[in-house]
């Protein structure tokens, strides 16, 4: 079911959606978004590419092992939680603050965002490994 229009459009749109999903991830702490949504959005992008190009081409363009995302994501989330233990605080205690960067001005950082990044990776990993394993079967 190859379609030239779909193929072309998806290639262009791919990066737009990807960037949008990152934006969703980063702003998730202060506005609607976050790891779950961004993860699903990213997966949706890849699936679009997948539908347009077929599994073989997907592997050429994106030589990513999505299954590996799951443990990596879990690890990031767990480690973020473990850090406060060293300071004698409970597991998963978060910290946040504001930093002044030269170009961007004041931005906020929070360890919870790192945690959310782990969530993001897991969601992408889970969704993509399910879909690709089914598609390649």
């Amino acid at each position: 079911m190859k379609s030239f229009i779909l193929e072309t459009v998806s290639k262009v749109v791919l990066f737009v959606i990807l960037i949008f999903s990152f934006y969703l991830l980063l702003r998730g702490h202060n506005a609607p978004g976050g790891g779950f949504i961004a993860g699903l959005m990213t997966s949706a992008t890849f699936i679009l590419l997948y539908l347009a190009l077929g599994p073989g081409a997907r592997k050429q363009i994106l030589p990513l092992n999505f299954r590996a995302f799951i443990p990596v994501g879990l690890l990031i989330s767990a480690l973020t939680g473990l850090v406060p233990l060293a300071g004698g605080k409970p597991f998963l205690t978060s910290a946040f603050g504001y930093a002044d960067l030269p170009v961007f001005g004041e931005i906020e950082w929070a360890t919870a965002m790192l945690f959310d990044f782990g969530v993001y990776l897991v969601v992408v990993g889970v969704t993509m490994s399910i879909i690709s394993v089914l598609g390649e079967e």
Binding site: P32, F36, V123, T127, I130
Partner: protein
């Protein structure tokens, strides 16, 4: 609105249950999907509806906001629901491949070791 939702929830549960009791695996999967929609609506409805603004803090506005907790619960539930649906879908397809039927009546008593 809450009463209307209660009726919708009741309907979704009722229909989902009816499908669960059917003989075909695919119907069972449909049934679980309907029931999970019902549960999501149930959780949100129990936190009351439309009582304030969306739960994103706005400077200079102290409230009311709608209850954020049911939303958080539902958000994880939706994603988990997706993963479990994927799992039972794949399970069902494997069962069909193995036994060449998805009729639960015919599947009864079959054993992987046979």
């Amino acid at each position: 609105m809450e009463v209307l939702m209660a009726l919708v929830i009741g309907f979704l549960f009722s229909g989902g249950t009816y499908l669960l009791l059917q003989r075909r695996l695919i119907q069972v999967i449909f049934g679980t999907s309907l029931i999970s929609h019902g549960s999501l609506l149930l959780v949100l409805t129990l936190g009351r509806l439309k009582t304030g603004r969306p739960p994103v803090l706005i400077e200079g506005y102290s409230g009311p906001y709608v209850d954020p907790l049911p939303q958080a619960l539902n958000l994880t539930a939706i994603v988990i629901g997706f993963a479990t649906t994927a799992f039972i879908l794949v399970l069902a397809s494997k069962v069909y491949q193995e036994y060449e039927t998805d009729d639960l009546e015919e599947l009864r008593g079959v054993d992987g070791d046979e």
